[in-house]
C-alpha cells in the first residue's frame, strides 16, 4: 500500500533525526537513483524493512536528510546464522540547490522503495525558446 507524507519543515521536529543519529549504530546508505525532469528532481531509494512509521524525512536549510529504521519480523530464541545486513538504520542526505522548492517535497513509500519528488520553483522550469527563421 502506498503512503504519502509531507516532509518535516518544522525545526522543532529535528529531534527525531538527531536522536537516531546519536544511536550507536553505523547507518547503511541506501542505493539511490536520482534524475532530473523539466519540473523537478526525483530521488528513489531502496529501503527494505522500512514502513511509514519508521521513516523520517527532513529538509533543513538546503539539505534533505532521509532516515529509516529497518524492522524485522522476529521470533523468540532467535540466533543469527548469516547476515549481509548488520545494521537497522538507513541514512542518506543530499544538498539541494536554490531553484528547488523544499516546501513542496512529496514522498511515497511502497514495498520498501521511497520515491521523493522535489519540484523546481515555477520561475526555474525551462521554457522552450522558439528560433524564428527570417
Amino acid at each position: 500500500m502506498a503512503t504519502q507524507q509531507n516532509v518535516t519543515q518544522d525545526p522543532e521536529k529535528d529531534s527525531a533525526v538527531r536522536q537516531a543519529t546519536k544511536r550507536n549504530e553505523s547507518a547503511m546508505r541506501p542505493p539511490v537513483d536520482v534524475y532530473e525532469t523539466s519540473d523537478g528532481i526525483r530521488l528513489i531509494a531502496d529501503m527494505p524493512g522500512v514502513s511509514k512509521e519508521h521513516l523520517r524525512l527532513q529538509a533543513e536549510a538546503n539539505t534533505l536528510t532521509i532516515e529509516g529504521d529497518l524492522v524485522f519480523e522476529m521470533a523468540e530464541r532467535m540466533e543469527a546464522l548469516y547476515a549481509d545486513v548488520r545494521s537497522t538504520l538507513y541514512r542518506c542526505s543530499f544538498v539541494l540547490s536554490s531553484e528547488l522548492d523544499t516546501s513542496q517535497i512529496e514522498a511515497i513509500l511502497k514495498d520498501g522503495v521511497l520515491a521523493v519528488r522535489i519540484p523546481k520553483r515555477a520561475a526555474f522550469r525551462p521554457r522552450r525558446i522558439e528560433v524564428q527563421s527570417g
Binding site: 549504530e25 542505493p31 539511490v32 537513483d33 536520482v34 534524475y35 532530473e36 525532469t37 523539466s38 526525483r42 528513489i44 531502496d46 529501503m47 527494505p48 524493512g49 522500512v50 514502513s51 524492522v71 524485522f72 519480523e73 522476529m74 521470533a75 523468540e76 530464541r77 532467535m78 540466533e79 543469527a80 546464522l81 548469516y82 547476515a83 549481509d84 545486513v85 548488520r86 545494521s87 537497522t88 511502497k110 514495498d111 520498501g112 522503495v113
Partner: protein, 150 residues
C-alpha cells in the same frame, strides 16, 4: 538482533566485528576468518541481501528485495538447498537526466545452503515492506532434546 549478534555478546566481539567488516571489504560478505566462503555465495553488495537466523523450531530467511510483488519470486527448495529467483526491471524515463543509478535492475538468483535439518515440506513465505521472509521448519529429530539425569 543481527547487529546484536556482532555487538554485545562478548567484550571482544566489537573487535571481531571490525575484523569481519575488513574481511568483508576484501573478500566479500560471508567471509570467515580464513577468507573461506560458501561456493554459492555472491559478492558483497549483491541484490538481494540475505540474512539467515534460526530458532529451535525453524529457520528464518530474510531476503531484502524492495519494490517487488509477492508473485514475482520463484522459490524452490531441494533437500536443504533453497533457491530464490526473480527479476526487478527498473524502467528509465527517456526524457530525464540521470545523475545516479545505484539501484539494481535485472534478474537475480540467490542459492542458500541451509542446515541439514531444514524441512522442504514446511516452508512459509511472506512479503512485506520489501522483505521476503521465509520460515522453514526444522525436522523434529534434529532438535536438541533435554535429557533428564536420574
Amino acid at each position: 538482533m543481527f547487529e546484536g549478534l556482532w555487538g554485545y555478546e562478548h567484550p571482544l566481539s566489537g573487535q571481531f566485528r571490525r575484523l569481519e567488516e575488513e574481511l568483508d571489504a576484501v573478500f566479500g560478505s560471508g567471509a570467515s576468518l580464513t577468507g573461506t566462503r560458501n561456493i554459492r555465495s555472491l559478492p558483497a553488495g549483491s541484490f538481494p541481501a540475505v540474512n539467515i537466523a534460526s530458532t529451535p523450531e525453524a529457520l528464518l530467511v530474510y531476503l531484502f528485495a524492495p519494490g517487488l510483488d509477492a508473485k514475482a519470486f520463484d522459490i524452490s527448495m531441494q533437500q536443504n538447498l533453497l533457491s530464490i529467483s526473480g527479476a526487478r526491471e527498473i524502467s528509465l524515463d527517456d526524457a530525464a537526466t540521470y545523475y545516479r543509478r545505484e539501484r539494481f535492475s535485472g534478474e537475480f538468483r540467490r542459492t542458500i545452503n541451509l542446515p541439514d535439518d531444514a524441512d522442504p515440506e514446511r516452508v512459509e513465505a511472506k512479503y512485506a515492506n520489501g522483505i521476503l521472509t521465509l520460515r522453514i521448519g526444522r525436522r523434529e529429530s534434529a532438535r536438541p532434546r533435554q535429557i533428564e539425569v536420574r
